[in-house]
């Protein structure tokens, strides 16, 4: 079993606003601090894809390539939202998946600065070409 490189992302409101422009998701919960302050979250929350970023960055860094291998499959669950000011870090390990011919399985968790799990899941990477 191999630990993946460290990766983290510091979430900011400008980052969330920029992601809204790229994804078209202008939900006030993401981009309107005044409206979001009246919700149970007490403020804006990041789009779910933003705290996923350390997963991509760590795997790609580990593999030494700028993209995920074709047919990489990712399965994940969101546990709690991330908010501006949060720093999300990744804890992940990789191992050859049982009963496969070299397919790699990466188990991961994204945690905030309070060590709370934000996202957990796993992904499978196709076996490297011989």
């Amino acid at each position: 079993m191999t630990a993946l490189p460290h990766a983290r992302i510091a979430i900011t409101q400008p980052m969330i606003d920029g992601y809204a422009r790229l994804s078209g998701d202008f939900n006030p919960l993401h981009v309107d601090p005044e409206a979001a302050a009246k919700t149970p979250f007490g403020g804006t929350i990041a789009h779910g894809c933003i705290p996923m970023e350390p997963i991509f960055q760590a795997i790609q860094h580990w593999l030494g390539r700028p993209d995920l291998p074709q047919d990489t499959r990712m399965s994940l669950r969101y546990h709690r939202p991330s908010q501006p000011g949060d720093t999300i870090r990744l804890e992940a390990t990789a191992a050859t998946a049982d009963g496969t011919d070299g397919i790699l399985r990466v188990d991961f968790a994204c945690l905030n600065q309070r060590d709370e799990t934000v996202i957990s899941g796993h992904c499978t990477l196709p076996a490297p070409a011989a």
Partner: protein
């Protein structure tokens, strides 16, 4: 904000394509995404040998953009989990086609769930990204 009636919990036709969207990948969008997320690999730059590619995680935005543009996702929906597949990288100039389908509907513990799948392919038909996410819907 009105929601596409074909995507409400009651009316969703499971497995039927709800909408299709087309977009062209631009270097400007790639540069913006890289700046936001902290990507600095030369492979994403306009002068990359063989041409730039978009970061894999940028593929997640294509289907979401379609869903929001077409008012598919109801206000107040809470995303619970994803099943994603990453294919070939997108490149500047690629004309991408995204199909959006509601693939499942179920109730659990008094809550109602819908699963959406957004599949993005390039002009050759190669899969760029498939995003399937399940959300609690109002």
């Amino acid at each position: 904000m009105s929601v596409n009636p074909l995507t409400t919990f009651e009316a969703a036709e499971i497995g039927r394509k709800v909408c299709e969207g087309r977009m062209t990948v631009t270097q400007t969008d790639i540069d913006t995404f890289c700046a936001l997320m902290g990507y600095d690999d030369p492979a994403y730059r306009a002068d990359a040998p063989g041409g730039a590619i978009a970061p894999s995680s940028m593929g997640l935005t294509y289907g979401l953009r379609l869903g929001w543009e077409e008012s598919v996702f109801p206000p107040g929906a809470i995303r619970m989990g994803d099943e994603n597949i990453h294919g070939v990288p997108a490149r500047p100039g690629d004309e991408l086609v995204t199909d959006l389908t509601v693939t499942d509907r179920f109730e659990r513990k008094g809550r109602r769930f819908l699963t959406y799948r957004m599949e993005t392919r390039n002009r050759t038909g190669a899969l760029v990204c498939s995003v399937a996410f399940t959300a609690i819907v109002p």
